[in-house]
Every structure is written in structure tokens, then in C-alpha cells.
């Protein structure tokens, strides 16, 4: 697969998935807290800088 084809597979494929998922549930899962709640996985703790950057890739 060529790198340029990743635009179609990832970006367009993902975008179509997101639009379909939003349409299927009316745009919201009904939980309705609007992103105000943040939880950590059991046993996890935060690290990183919290000042920008991103996860290192392959």
C-alpha cells in the first residue's frame, strides 16, 4: 500500500465511520455530561507534561 492511499483508507474511511455513528445515535450516546468528567483507568496514574506534545509513534 502506498502512503498516499492512507488518506483514503484512514481519513475518508474514519470520517465516514464517524458520520454514520453520529447519525445512528442521533449525535449523542445520551450520557450527556458533555465531556466534563475525566476518569483514569483502574490503577493508572497520570504522567506526561500536560504542556503539549504527543505520544511517540513507531
Amino acid at each position: 500500500m502506498k502512503i498516499k492511499k492512507l488518506f483514503q483508507v484512514l481519513v475518508l474511511g474514519g470520517t465516514a465511520l464517524g458520520l454514520a455513528a453520529a447519525a445512528a445515535c442521533g449525535g449523542d450516546n445520551g450520557n450527556g455530561s458533555g465531556g466534563q468528567v475525566q476518569t483514569l483507568p483502574d490503577g493508572g496514574h497520570t504522567g506526561g507534561t500536560g504542556g503539549g506534545g504527543g505520544p511517540v509513534g513507531w
Partner: protein, 243 residues
């Protein structure tokens, strides 16, 4: 004496073990946060599945290290978060999803595609194929999230942060000169992309996938285009000096 090329490949696989175990924690957290934010069930489940995938991938990295008779490091146990403190909670979630899926996982896919083209070893090829199959979904999560989120919030703030995300995913060494063994084409047979080829793949992926993807979602790509061109110029200047 240990062959420096072999040692470098061992270091890369050890780092990948940490990348995969850290990503498992991040996707588990993102799944919960997406649910809290009211995201469609399909996206919540996609993130949860990605967490399970990444745990399995870390296991594959450990297997490869053992096959290479290299030390398997302890898994990442910290939940690393990168969103700047000044962002609102919903902006922080957008930042973390985009940094993880639209940048890091999309770049990882490009690396895997490059490696699959070159892989000849049966087990390595099987592992790379499995990882590539899964990473498609991990990257799509970010682009799917943007399609949903842009209907609910202003995602324009992301444009200014894209260079920081891209620099973080590149890591501190990608755009510095590497040791001579980092250019050894034999690395490809160990599942590692040689340094200058990795630089090229990284920049091409930003140029042909990430930047047009962000533009597709209405995010200003000017800062990321400028960052990419600066790195491209530095890489070409370094190559010219070596020639």
C-alpha cells in the same frame, strides 16, 4: 562485542514495547472519556478495542525481543497525557484523541506499510500484518471522532497545536543526525526503518495524509505545513552537507 546494528534494532523493539503498553492505557482512558463526553457508542467501543489490541501488540513486541535474545523492558504503567493545562475539558479530550489517533497511529500505519513492503521473515511479517490490520482502526478513530466532534464544538484551536503533536510523535531524535548503523538497510529485515527513510516517510505522511485530513475537517493546517517544511529543509540541508 554486540553488533551495533543489532543493538539498535533491539532498542527500537524495546521502545515499541513501551509505546504499545502506553497506548493500551491511553485508549482505555479515551474510551471512558469519550463515553463521558456523549460520543457515539461505536467510537467508545473502538477505543476500548484499541486498548485490548495494544496490550496484545505489546506482547508481540516482547516475543520478538525474546526471539532476538534481547531484554524485555517493564511495560509502561503511566497514563501519559499531553493536552495543555489551559484547554477546557472537552478541548483536552479532542487534543488527546487527535494526538493519539490522527497523528501517532496514522504515522505508525505509514511505518508499518513501509516495513510490510520489505519484510521477508515469516513470523515478523505475520506480526506486522496483524498490527497494520489493527492500527487502521486505531487511526480511523481519530478521524471519526473529528467528524462527530466538529458538529458539537469549535475544533479550530487544534491547528495551533498540531506542530507540537507532530514533534512529540516524531520523538527527540528523528530529525537529528543518527549513528551510522541507523542507515544500515539490513535494519529493514529486523522490522526497523533506516533513519533517513523514516524521516522521509514521516514527512510524506504529514504532507499527504495528516495535513489534508485536518483540512478536510476545517482545521487550519498553516502551522503544521510550516513545521513540516522546516523539517524537510533541515533534512535536505543535512543530506547536502553529507554529499
Amino acid at each position: 562485542m554486540v553488533d551495533p546494528t543489532r543493538r539498535l534494532a533491539d532498542q527500537v523493539w524495546a521502545a515499541r514495547h513501551g509505546v504499545e503498553s502506553g497506548a493500551a492505557l491511553r485508549f482505555a482512558s479515551l474510551s471512558r472519556r469519550l463515553w463521558d463526553a456523549g460520543a457515539p457508542e461505536a467510537l467508545v467501543q473502538l477505543a476500548a478495542r484499541a486498548s485490548r489490541d495494544e496490550t496484545r501488540h505489546a506482547g508481540h513486541c516482547a516475543d520478538i525481543l525474546r526471539e532476538r535474545r534481547a531484554r524485555v523492558p517493564a511495560p509502561e504503567t503511566r497514563l501519559l497525557e499531553y493536552a495543555p493545562a489551559e484547554l477546557s475539558p472537552e478541548q483536552k479530550l479532542a487534543y488527546e484523541v487527535v494526538a493519539q489517533s490522527c497523528i501517532s497511529e496514522t504515522e505508525s500505519m505509514a511505518t508499518l506499510v513501509t516495513l510490510l513492503d520489505a519484510a521477508s521473515d515469516g513470523h515478523l511479517r505475520q506480526v506486522l500484518h496483524e498490527l497494520a490490520r489493527d492500527e487502521v482502526h486505531h487511526a480511523r478513530l481519530g478521524w471519526a471522532y473529528l467528524a462527530w466532534a466538529r458538529q458539537r464544538m469549535d475544533i479550530g484551536f487544534l491547528g495551533a497545536w498540531l506542530p507540537s503533536m507532530a514533534a512529540g510523535t516524531a520523538g527527540p531524535d528523528l530529525f537529528r543526525p543518527g549513528p551510522p548503523e541507523a542507515e544500515d538497510p539490513v535494519l529493514l529485515r529486523s522490522g526497523v526503518v533506516p533513519h533517513s527513510e523514516r524521516q522521509r516517510v514521516y514527512l510524506e505522511t504529514l504532507q499527504s495524509v495528516v495535513i489534508p485530513g485536518m483540512a478536510e475537517h476545517g482545521v487550519d493546517t498553516g502551522p503544521l505545513r510550516e513545521w513540516t517544511e522546516q523539517r524537510r529543509g533541515a533534512v535536505e540541508s543535512a543530506a547536502a552537507v553529507e554529499a
